[in-house]
């Protein structure tokens, strides 16, 4: 899976799972401030990433994710890309 595919799938997950407005989603957007995702929402997103990308994200790595782009980076890294 290349980066564009991960970004596109990530965007779909944010829209479908967390109900975020598609227009607001940019790679530089922060979850908690720009996208107004609460802390439980971030946990849910990580669960969705694990389910949809078949990766495992340990809590200590999950804590470092602040923006959509960083989440994409982490998934890419886990996918070995």
């Amino acid at each position: 899976m290349d980066r564009a595919e991960v970004e596109s799938k990530m965007t779909d997950l944010l829209v479908d799972e967390l109900g975020i407005d598609r227009d607001k989603i940019k790679m530089s957007a922060t979850f908690e401030e720009d996208l107004e995702v609460d802390s439980l929402g971030v946990v849910e997103l990580l669960m969705a990433l694990e389910d949809n990308f078949g990766v495992s994200i340990p809590d200590e790595e999950a804590e470092k994710i602040g923006t959509v782009g960083e989440a994409v980076d982490l998934v890419m890294q886990k996918l070995g890309g």
Partner: protein
């Protein structure tokens, strides 16, 4: 008949068994957990099945996080994601604090309180996905009023109340309710062991003048587990015949 899956810890005997029977009668598919009494757990499953319900027995020490993970994997594979979790497993190791052994303190905290940490964390993933869930912990009047000889038990049960209220606030926005039921004196093997003299001395303090039955606790749990209780969360429902109020 909702077909939802319920997991009742310590479900082979006493109050836990009555809860498992009640939830099965309400149409839930019930996994009842036990630690040591396989015979009792299988008898409970048989009784539920004969009454037309669906149940399975699943072994595991709820004080052990690895055992809890294995238990959830087994239940989810056989029945599906857990929608209703009843934290019922509990032990007592009574003594005056000054005589209480450290291992008796630790064992009671681990089985009665840390168990809820393990099971609830495991159950929440599926509940978040489903945007529906019920977590019901069986606490005790002893956790509200205190009881001499039960510093460990009362501390664990009071801990469950704080746990219940905190988790209720964390997950309420996702359609998951978290409540506790606090039984008073209920007729079980635990209270049978009290002896006639102690029982008679306790009765005047109970407004209804009798001990409760496991089924009367189960009916409170059945209610909190139902859609009828959708707007109740973070509460402690005291079911004690009017003992502590």
């Amino acid at each position: 008949m909702s077909g939802r899956v319920a997991l009742v810890t310590g479900g082979s005997r006493g109050i836990g068994r009555a809860i498992a029977e009640r939830l099965a009668a309400d149409g839930l598919r019930v996994a009842l957990n036990y630690r040591s009494r396989r015979d009792a757990a299988e008898a409970a499953v048989e009784s539920i099945t004969e009454a037309g319900g669906e149940a399975m027995a699943v072994a595991g020490d709820v004080g052990d996080g690895y055992a809890v993970a294995a238990m959830f994997a087994s239940v989810e594979e056989s029945l599906g994601p857990v929608a209703v979790l009843v934290n019922n497993a509990g032990i007592t190791a009574d003594d005056l604090l000054l005589r209480m052994k450290h291992e008796d303190w630790d064992a009671v905290i681990q089985t009665n309180l840390s168990s809820a940490y393990h099971t609830t964390k495991a159950a929440l993933r599926g509940m978040l996905r489903a945007r529906w869930g019920r977590i019901i912990s069986i606490t005790s009047v002893a956790g509200i009023t205190g009881n001499p000889g039960q510093a460990n038990y009362a501390a664990a049960k009071a801990g469950l109340i704080g746990f219940t209220k905190s988790v209720a606030k964390e997950v309420g926005s996702r359609g998951i309710t978290v409540n506790a039921v606090a039984p008073g004196f209920i007729e079980t093997e635990l209270t049978d062991a009290l002896g006639e003299g102690v029982r008679d001395a306790l009765l005047p303090a109970i407004s209804l003048g009798r001990f409760g039955t496991p089924a009367e606790i189960a009916s409170a749990v059945g209610y909190l587990a139902s859609d009828d209780a959708a707007y109740i969360t973070g509460q402690v429902l005291v079911v004690d015949g009017g003992l502590a109020f």
